[in-house]
């Protein structure tokens, strides 16, 4: 299924996230990942979403119908700087530990916790790096995994990123 990356600039008011989530549920749209946080302007928050499905036009229009939504920007591939953070705990029997650490080094993953038979890595970067690392670690066995949700900023000096206007 095709995935789309959108940034939604909203008024920093209580319940905005609930409004967005409720609208997605009601309209039967699917959110793949979601990250919310403050912006340079304390009256605004930014929601970065990866959404599934072919209904992008409707999703954008329905977002705009929410009174607290100010701007919706869809980022086409390559038009934005994208980052995500992941914590992943993998099986690491002492006999294979150095092998795993060497591999992690190549992916620029940082070991942040070590247990008797596990290592927990932090990986930051483009979503593809995270998925590559995960793919590699599957051979050792992934015990648990958490992702922050993708965040993105449109690249500077490039007007290619489409800001979908309210008029159709």
């Amino acid at each position: 299924m095709s995935q789309h990356l959108i940034t939604v600039t909203v008024e920093n008011k209580p319940g905005v996230l609930a409004r967005i989530a409720s609208m997605f549920a009601r309209r039967d749209f699917n959110i793949h990942s979601l990250a919310v946080g403050p912006t340079e302007d304390p009256t605004r928050s930014r929601v970065t979403m990866v959404v599934d499905g072919p209904e992008m036009e409707q999703i954008v229009k329905q977002l705009y119908k929410l009174v607290h939504v100010i701007k919706v920007t869809e980022h086409l591939p390559g038009e934005a700087v994208e980052r995500e953070i992941m914590l992943v705990r993998v099986n690491a029997d002492p006999s294979r530990r150095s092998e795993i650490l060497n591999a992690a080094n190549i992916f620029e993953a940082t070991a942040v916790d070590v247990g008797a038979a596990t290592i927990t890595f932090e990986v930051v970067g483009e979503p593809s790096r995270l998925s590559d690392f995960l793919e590699f670690m599957r051979t050792y066995g992934i015990i648990s995994l958490v992702k922050s949700g993708r965040i993105a900023l449109a690249k500077d000096n490039k007007s290619a990123s489409r800001s979908r206007k309210r008029t159709a």
Partner: protein, 572 residues
Amino acid sequence: MADQLNGAAILIRSLEHEDVEVIFGVPGGAILQAYDELYSSPIRHVLARHEQGGGHMASGYAHATGRVGVTFATSGPGVTNLITPLADAYMDSIPIVAITAQVSSAKIGLDAFQETHTWGITMPVTKHNYLVTKIEEISSTVREAFHLASTGRPGPVLVDITKDALADEMEWHGPQEIDLPGYRPSVKGHPRQVKAAIEAIINSERPVLYAGGGVIRAGASNELRAFAKQQNLPVVTTLMARGAVPDSHPLTLGMPGMHGTYTASTAMQRSDLLIAIGARFDDRVTGDTEFFAPGAKIIHVDVDPAEISKIRKADIPIVGDAKAVLDQLLAQGAERLGGDAAPPRTEWLATLARWQRDFPLAYEQDPEGPIQQQYVIDQLSKRSGPDTIVVAGVGQHQMWTSQFWGFEKPNTWINSGGLGTMGYAVPAAIGAQAGMPERTVIAIDGDGCFQMTFQELITAAIEQIPVKIAVLNNANLGMVRQWQKLFYGERYSATEMSHTIPNIPMLAEAMGCAGLRAETPADVIPTIEKGLAINDRPVVMEFVCDPDAMVFPMIVAGGSNDEILMGPEDVK
């Protein structure tokens, strides 16, 4: 000089600033303070017998007057009872503002007495909603609520205010500016799109102007009629747009869709260009979208961009207010025609006229048989002026009224279209009558609908709101029974009611209304004449009708609009 006021006083003053003349509601614990201030306000309060009634009254008021209807309810059950009218107004884009009270801010989340999560449960059924916990926010929130309810695509807005915010005091300096950076509805259409639309219309051989409720809400009926005339366009009016053009106008084809006229539905099917204005391609209009108007290009004018291409891809989308865009289309059309006449479309119009002649809406009243519902509506319509406001509930009686009432003016037809709320008619009629005291308001109701909300007639009698209710009593939940007859092998599961219980005229009298009954066709006209002559109190006219009468034409739900059942003989 600023006044030291409590939150409730600020609320009431803010409503006075919005020129609110009437509030429909029910008091309770959390909202007591607001009612205390209302006691000394010039705003009229109509005490509903149930919050659902109060909400539908506000909706009927808004329908009839074009102004924002206002309803009050207390916390908890007051709010949950209000959900249906909110959802109803949301589906039909009716501007209402609901003011509800919430438990004190310190008690929120603690399962206090009559606490419910109002903001959360009303979010999906309102255009926008608020939880106000501070007195400072009351005034600006009321201003925003009225602005949101009445502009862009209208709709219900709810303002939930905590008990402590209503009780606190502050210096009040009058209404405040609103700040809605994310709310900028488009009004005018894009000139290039308007131009493209006119070109498409002039080049069209089989156009149909598809008018929806947005035309009524925008007050664009005159513009619509002028545009139909200028471009020589036949017009279909959806259930929400009945009256947008006069039914007596030669270009009017009536209602399209599931129970629409053969000509309206078939014109859309054969059309090469649909000009949708304030309409949303509802499934009751389109049937199975795969087979809907297969040869038509689509011009879609709507103030809500999300409606455009939601169901059917628009070839020429125009975002804007129906009235503003029709003005643009009229100007552009006049310029493009440059004094020439619009294309005559002789063949197309002749075809439509032939269909209208060959497939009219019809019924037969056997003088010895049971009363046919269509006959009652027809006779009521013939005896009522064009300014009469007609209200309906949901079901067979609603469809027959849409079919057989001759609508000549906008804002004279009030019904629950999108949500299909049974029980809508009685309270909505009361709201309409409260807003339009000089007009005749007639609700045409079914016995099923009537029994959902008739208690509001007590409100009407005590408040001296002399609505007229015609109950077409077929002793059944008629539309469900019709489906059971046609598609469920006549297994009448849970649809049978009674011709005798309740005794409707006695019930009416008990509620302070006049109660009349017609049992035979010969009784119909005298009963109508008697009922229409009573103006000092509400009147309930019961017509004992035929349980087997069915609504036709009919397009089976989810079927193709090419397959129109004209009568029971067409059902396989």
